[in-house]
Amino acid sequence: MTKITFDSVQTGQELAPFTKKVNQEIFWKYAVASFDYNPVHNDPEWVKTAQPFKVPYTVAHGMMTMSFMTSVVTNWAYPNMLRIRKITSKFTLPVAPGWTVKCTGVISEKHVISKGKNYVVVDLKAENQEGALLGVGEIEVVFPD
């Protein structure tokens, strides 16, 4: 495993994207994986009339979108033994079955504190196949050096 140093990272650096096409089966599998059985994600019949998001179809779990955004960072951080400390997110558009969710991340801040406390902030974005914004996030990643 190659390790990167804190000195070597720069703001503006882009991480490799994480892109997945989603569908109702993936929503069901995520419900099982997360224990979140909220019918807005799982029950197409119920949602036709209940419409919590004012749309008559099921939508992806926000936590799944957040997980996708986080995978952008873990793909970079885990092989380099970097520690993910804090994750925040906001969801801006519910994700419909059939959409492609593309998550991208860019290092936006570099916090120069001291050895063991230096960290970067990665700004994340999730967009669908038409470029509509699905969510944003920020993840703090701490470096050992």
């Binding site: 703001t11 570099k110 504190i113």
Partner: protein, 192 residues
Amino acid sequence: MNRINFERFFKTEKQKQFSTDFFKNAGEYETWDEINFSTDKEFDGEQTFTIKAEDMKAYAEGVLDDHALMNDEKYAQKSPYGSLVPHPIFITQIAFWCIGTKGQGNWIRTPGARNPGQDFEFYEPFRVGETIHIKMRPYDRYIKRGKYYLKYKIDFYSQKEVKKATWILTLILPRTKADIKKFVEGVRGLDA
């Protein structure tokens, strides 16, 4: 370099005493790349601030706020507050005064510094008659879109050690002493 005549605007004792020349001691200001983050030690400000009615009124007037609770002592005395209530951002005046010119935190005076936004928490209102001291420490330092940000955490206490407020004070600074020197000479000392 102090060409502006501020004296015509002075109203309070502190305003008359406080040096208006932020260039003068610039060679001694803490700089972004030299701040020591290896310790969590807190530092005291250079001086304390005894709040007088004139200080609160002058701040409200300075921000063009004619609210009677901040300006009219008699009115404020008859209100449920019992006395003048400062504008919340009155804390700015206290911080600049207490930090002083030579002590820790003096980077807030850096010519060329830019204010990106601030973060305050208030626990208890400041009151006339209180003597405020501050405790501060380096909080965060980072680069974002080519700009160099520095943050200090400043806690404000009364003479009875009651915590009155906390300010996470943030400025975008010139990065090095050489960059500050450029600003002192009237040249832009920033890349972004």
